[in-house]
C-alpha cells in the first residue's frame, strides 16, 4: 500500500473538516474564544494605572503646600481627593482611594529653609501591591518634578545631580494592550493546537471510531496528516482573524511582515499539534487528555511564556524552565514582529527552537501512531 494515497487522505481530511464544522464546540474554541480573549486582554485587563484616586491631607495650609497640592492635582496620573486623616483612613479602608499623601504642619516652613528637605508621607494600600508600587514610583517622580520646577521658578540651579528621563521604546505610550495581544495570540494557538486536537483524537478512541479506522486500509502517514491539515488550517485561520482585529480594530501596531508572522506561527502551531496528538494517542480518553494538555501546554503558556507575566522577574529556576517552553519563543517573536519589526537577531533563534520542537513532537507522535491498539 502506498504511504500516502491522495484519495484516502482527502476522504479523511474531509471527514475531519466536516466534524469541525458540525461540532459547535470547535467553532467556539476557534473563533468565539479568541474574540473573547481579545476583548478581555484588550480592554478588560489593563495593567496601566491611569487616574488613580489619591487622598491629600494638607496639615500645613501654607503657600508651598497649596502649590504642591495644585501640582499634584494637575498630574494626569492622579485624581486627588482632599480631607483630614480620619476621613482618608476610612476612604482607604473602603477602597475609595488607593493611598494618600500627608503634608506635615511645618511643610511650607521647611521648604523655604534651603538646607533641609521637607518630609512628606505616603500611605498606600499594600493589599494591592502593584498599584501601591505604582503610586510610590509616581509620587517620587511627581515630587522630584515639583522640586525641580520650583527651583527653576526661584532661579536656583537644581540641586538634583542627575535627572531621569524615561522612554518606553517600541511601545512609546506604554499601553499594555500592545504587548498583551501578541500574548493572547499565543494562548489561542495553544488552545487550538494542543487542546482541541487532543480532545478530538481522544474522542475517536472513546467512541471506538479509531478502532474502525485502524481496521480499515489506512496508513500511519494518512492518519497523522488527516489530523494535522484541518487543524493547521483552523489554527492559522483563527490566528489571522485575531491578528486582523488586533491591528485594524484595536490599533495594535504591526511593524514586522506578514510572511514572518505566518512562518513563526506555523512552526509554533505544528509543535502544539504535535503535543496535542501525542498526548491523546497516549491517554486515549478525553478527561485525561484535557487534564494533561491543560498542565503541559495551556497553563505554562499563560503563566510562564512571558505573555502576561514578565519572565525576568521570575525566580532563577523558573526562569530556566521557561526556556523549555515553545510558547516563550512565540511570545518573544510575536512581540518583536508586532512592536519592533523583523528583528532577525531575535526571530532566528526563536524560529530555530520552534522548528526543533515541532519536529520532535511530530516525530514522537508518528512513533506513537500505530496501526494497532497495542503499539
Amino acid at each position: 500500500m502506498k504511504t500516502v494515497s491522495w484519495r484516502r487522505l482527502k476522504a479523511l481530511s474531509l471527514k475531519e473538516s466536516r466534524q469541525i464544522l458540525r461540532d459547535p464546540s470547535s467553532g467556539i474554541v476557534a473563533f468565539v474564544l479568541p474574540m473573547l480573549l481579545l476583548v478581555i486582554f484588550g480592554y478588560g485587563i489593563n495593567l496601566d494605572t491611569d487616574m488613580v484616586r489619591l487622598g491629600l491631607c494638607n496639615q500645613d495650609g501654607g503657600p508651598e503646600s497649596v502649590r504642591f497640592a495644585a501640582h499634584l492635582s494637575g498630574s494626569s496620573y492622579f485624581k486627588v481627593v482632599g480631607g483630614d486623616r480620619p476621613r482618608l483612613d476610612a476612604m482607604l479602608e473602603n477602597g475609595l482611594i488607593r493611598g494618600y499623601v500627608v503634608l506635615p504642619q511645618d511643610f511650607s516652613a521647611l521648604m523655604n529653609h534651603s538646607q533641609t528637605t521637607a518630609p512628606i508621607q505616603l500611605v498606600t494600600d499594600g493589599a494591592e501591591i502593584n498599584t501601591a508600587n505604582f503610586i510610590a514610583n509616581f509620587m517620587k517622580y511627581v515630587w522630584q518634578d515639583w522640586r525641580l520646577s520650583r527651583a527653576r521658578d526661584l532661579g536656583e540651579t537644581a540641586r538634583q545631580g542627575a535627572d531621569m528621563d524615561v522612554r518606553y521604546w517600541f511601545n512609546a505610550a506604554a499601553i499594555s494592550r500592545h504587548y498583551l495581544i501578541p500574548g493572547s495570540i499565543t494562548i489561542i494557538m495553544t488552545v487550538i493546537g494542543a487542546m482541541l486536537t487532543s480532545l478530538v483524537v481522544a474522542r475517536e478512541w472513546e467512541r471506538g471510531t479509531m478502532e474502525a479506522l485502524l481496521a480499515a486500509p489506512v496508513t500511519r502517514a494518512e492518519l497523522l496528516l488527516s489530523k494535522l491539515i484541518p487543524y493547521y488550517v483552523l489554527g492559522m485561520g483563527s490566528m489571522a482573524v485575531v491578528a486582523f482585529c488586533a491591528v485594524y480594530i484595536m490599533g495594535v501596531p504591526f511593524r514586522g511582515s506578514a510572511a514572518v508572522l505566518f512562518l513563526v506561527t506555523s512552526v509554533f502551531l505544528l509543535s502544539m499539534l504535535g503535543i496535542g496528538l501525542l498526548i491523546s494517542s497516549v491517554m486515549r480518553n478525553q478527561f485525561d487528555s484535557a487534564q494533561t494538555t491543560l498542565n503541559v501546554a495551556f497553563l505554562p503558556a499563560v503563566m510562564l511564556s512571558g505573555a502576561f507575566f514578565v519572565i525576568s522577574s521570575m525566580p532563577a529556576p523558573i526562569r530556566a524552565l521557561t526556556y523549555l517552553l515553545p510558547s516563550r519563543y512565540l511570545v518573544s517573536s510575536l512581540q518583536t514582529i508586532f512592536l519592533a519589526g523583523d528583528v532577525w537577531d531575535v526571530l532566528l533563534p526563536d524560529i530555530a527552537f520552534l522548528t526543533g520542537t515541532s519536529v520532535l513532537f511530530l516525530a514522537l507522535t508518528a512513533l506513537k501512531t500505530t496501526r494497532r491498539l497495542d503499539g
Binding site: 471510531t209 474502525a212 486500509p217
Partner: protein
C-alpha cells in the same frame, strides 16, 4: 467449507494484568457459517476479535486469518476482512451516506461499482430512507445496520462483528441475524461475539470462552446434547416456589436450578438419578417434565454446577410482617424531556414481598420510570408513591426506607472495598455501632474479607456487583430498587445474585428490578413490559408467554413473547 481462521494455542497477556486475557485457544472458524464467540464480560472475546483483525499483537501460539498472519500481512487483510468494533465505530456527526462514503474511499471502492454497492447495501439494510440522517440520531438497531454496511463495503471474505447486539432491541437483533445469515449462506465467514448465551444457540458453531480459557468449541447442539435427560421442569409446585427452589438446590443430585414462571427449572448432575416427585416434600402434586437444554445450562454444567441456593445476606435479615399491602404505586406516571415522553402514562403497583420486573430494550424508558419511583427524577405528571410517601413531595423521606443499586453499580472505583461500604452505610444514615455491625455483616455475607483494602476498580465485575448489592442493602431497607443489576455478569454470579434476591424476598422485602435479560424476567412474580415509554403489558411471566402462544409457536420463550407483544402493539 474452508477454514477462514485457524487458532492454535493462541495466548495473549496484557502488561500489568496478572492472568492472561487468552490462554491457549485452539479452534477453527469456517467459511459459509456463523461462528459465535461466546462468554461473559472479561472472558476474552474482544481480545480474540482484535487479534483476528490484526489490531493486537499475539502472544504465544498462532493465528492465521485467510491463511495469513494478521499483523505481518495487514495491508492485504485490511481489504479482505470486514470488522465492526463494539459500539459500531460510526462517526455520529456524519450522516449515513457520509459514513459510507468515508469507508468506501478508504477501501478504494469507486465509480460504478461504488454506486452499485451503496444501492445494494442501503436496500439490504433498509437504510435508504435515512441516508441524510446523522448517525448519532439513529436508533440502536439502525446504527448496528449502518456499522454492518460499513464493514461490508469491501466485500470481505471474513466478517468480524464484536458484540453487535449490545444496545439493540430484540426486533432489530432478529433482523440483523437474518441479514448475517444471508451473508454466511453466500459463503462468507461470519464471526459474531456475544455475552448473551441464548444467542449462542442460533450460531452454527461456537467458541465458548470463560476467563481467557476455551471451554468448548463446536456445534452448540453438541454441547447442550450432553445434558440430554438431565434438564427438567418441575410443574405443579404449589405455594412458595422460591422456597421450593431453595429446597431443590440443596439436593445432592441437583447441579443447578432456577425459577421459570410457575415451574422450576432443574439440571441434574451427570449420572444422578431423578428423585421421585413425591419424595421432594413439596406441597401440591409436582411432576417432572423433560425440557430442551439451553446453552446457559450447558455452560453452568461445564463450570461444575451452580452456586447452590443459600443466601447469607437473607439469613442475616430480619423477617418482616407480611401484610400484602401495595408498597409501590405508580399512577399515570409521565416524564417529558422536551416534547419527548420518556415515560408515558404508566400505571402499576407492587405488593409487599413481591419481585416486580420492568422489562424492555435499551431506551424504552425503563430507567426513567425507575428513577421516578425511587425519587431521583421528578415526574412531569402523575402519582408516584413508595410506602404511602408521595415522591413528588418528600423524596428524601422515602429514600431512607429504600435501597438503590444503580446501573453499572456506581461504586467509587478509587476507594477500597471497606471505604465504599463505610461511605454508603453512612449515606443511608447508619452510624456508630450499628454502622460497624452492618459493615461487618456485609463483609461476612459476601466473603469480602480478603479484598477489604483493594480498590473496587481492580475487582472483577462479579465482585463489584456483590459490593453494590451489599451497599444498597446495609440499612435493611423494606424495598430494594435494582437497576440492571446483572448486565455483563457471568451466569454463575447471576445465579448467586438471584439467590440473594429470592432470599430477601422470602423475608418480606419488596424488590423492583429492571433487566433486559429475558430469562431473568422469569424470576419475577409480575413483569411490566415497557416499549417506547409506555407500559404495553403487565402480568406474571407465564401468562405473558401463554398470551402469545399459537400453532406455529406452541411454547414461546420470554423473548418471543416480548417481540410478539411489541409487534401487536405496533398494529393496534
Amino acid at each position: 467449507m474452508s477454514a477462514a481462521v485457524v487458532l492454535s494455542r493462541l495466548c495473549k497477556t496484557f502488561s500489568g494484568m496478572k492472568s492472561p486475557a487468552l490462554d491457549g485457544i485452539s479452534a477453527t472458524i469456517r467459511s459459509g457459517i456463523i461462528t459465535g464467540i461466546v462468554g461473559p464480560d472479561g472472558a476474552g472475546k474482544t481480545t480474540l476479535m482484535r487479534l483476528m483483525a490484526g489490531l493486537l499483537r499475539k502472544g504465544a501460539g498462532d493465528v492465521a486469518v485467510l491463511g495469513l498472519d494478521p499483523v505481518d500481512r495487514t495491508d492485504e487483510l485490511r481489504l479482505r476482512v470486514g470488522y465492526m468494533p463494539q459500539k459500531f465505530g460510526l462517526y455520529e456527526d456524519l450522516s449515513v451516506i457520509e459514513n459510507l462514503r468515508l469507508h468506501a474511499d478508504l477501501r478504494g471502492l469507486l465509480g460504478q461499482e461504488r454506486q452499485a454497492t451503496f444501492a445494494r447495501l442501503l436496500s439490504f439494510t433498509d437504510l435508504h430512507r435515512f441516508t441524510d440522517r446523522m448517525a448519532g440520531k439513529l436508533s440502536g438497531g439502525m446504527k448496528q445496520k449502518l456499522g454492518l454496511a460499513c464493514a461490508l463495503l469491501g466485500k470481505p471474505d471474513l466478517l468480524l462483528l464484536d458484540e453487535p447486539s449490545v444496545g439493540v432491541d430484540p426486533i432489530s437483533r432478529r433482523e440483523l441475524w437474518r441479514m448475517v445469515r444471508e451473508l454466511a449462506d453466500g459463503g462468507m465467514a461470519v464471526v459474531w461475539s456475544t455475552a448473551y448465551l441464548e444467542e449462542a444457540e442460533t450460531c452454527d458453531e461456537v467458541i465458548l470462552l470463560h476467563e481467557g480459557a476455551l471451554l468448548f468449541s463446536g456445534r452448540p447442539a453438541d454441547l447442550t446434547g450432553r445434558l440430554a435427560g438431565r434438564c427438567l421442569h418441575l410443574h405443579g409446585v404449589e405455594g412458595r416456589r422460591r422456597k421450593a427452589l431453595n429446597r431443590m438446590l440443596r439436593l445432592p443430585e441437583v447441579a443447578d436450578g432456577a425459577i421459570q414462571g410457575h415451574s422450576l427449572r432443574v439440571i441434574l448432575r451427570e449420572g444422578a438419578i431423578r428423585p421421585a416427585p413425591g419424595d421432594l416434600g413439596l406441597p401440591g402434586a409436582p411432576q417432572w417434565k423433560e425440557v430442551t437444554p439451553r446453552f446457559e445450562d450447558a455452560f453452568i454444567d461445564l463450570l461444575g454446577g451452580g452456586p447452590g441456593g443459600e443466601s447469607v445476606l437473607a439469613a442475616s435479615m430480619p423477617a418482616r410482617q407480611k401484610n400484602g399491602a401495595d408498597l409501590i404505586v405508580a399512577e399515570n406516571l409521565t416524564k417529558m424531556f422536551g416534547d419527548f415522553a420518556a415515560t408515558d402514562q404508566v400505571t402499576f403497583s407492587v405488593h409487599q414481598g413481591e419481585i416486580f420486573g420492568l422489562l424492555g430494550p435499551n431506551g424504552a424508558g425503563k430507567s426513567t420510570t425507575f428513577k421516578m419511583m425511587c425519587g431521583l427524577l421528578k415526574p412531569t405528571s402523575g402519582r408516584a408513591e413508595v410506602m404511602g410517601i408521595d415522591l413528588r413531595k418528600s423524596p428524601a423521606q422515602a429514600r431512607q426506607r429504600l435501597g438503590y443499586m444503580a446501573q453499572k453499580f456506581s461504586l467509587y472505583g478509587k476507594l477500597s472495598v471497606r471505604q465504599n461500604l463505610e461511605f454508603f452505610s453512612g449515606v443511608y444514615g447508619l452510624s456508630g455501632g450499628r454502622q460497624r455491625a452492618a459493615v461487618e455483616g456485609m463483609i461476612e455475607s459476601f466473603h469480602l474479607r480478603p479484598f477489604l483494602q483493594v480498590k473496587t476498580d481492580d475487582l472483577s465485575l462479579g465482585y463489584k456487583q456483590r459490593i453494590a448489592l451489599a451497599c444498597s442493602a446495609m440499612h435493611e431497607p423494606d424495598i430494594l430498587f435494582l437497576d440492571e443489576p446483572t448486565s455483563g455478569v457471568d451466569p454463575l454470579t447471576r445465579r448467586e445474585f438471584w439467590n440473594h434476591i429470592n432470599g430477601v424476598v422470602e423475608k418480606g422485602v419488596t424488590v423492583m428490578v429492571t433487566t433486559h435479560f429475558m430469562d431473568e424476567a422469569e424470576y419475577c412474580d409480575r413483569i411490566g413490559l415497557i416499549h417506547q415509554g409506555r407500559l404495553i403489558a403487565l402480568a406474571p411471566p407465564d401468562d405473558l408467554k401463554k398470551s402469545v402462544a399459537s400453532k406455529e409457536m406452541p411454547d414461546p420463550t420470554m423473548e418471543d413473547a416480548f417481540i410478539e407483544l411489541i409487534l401487536r402493539e405496533g398494529q393496534a
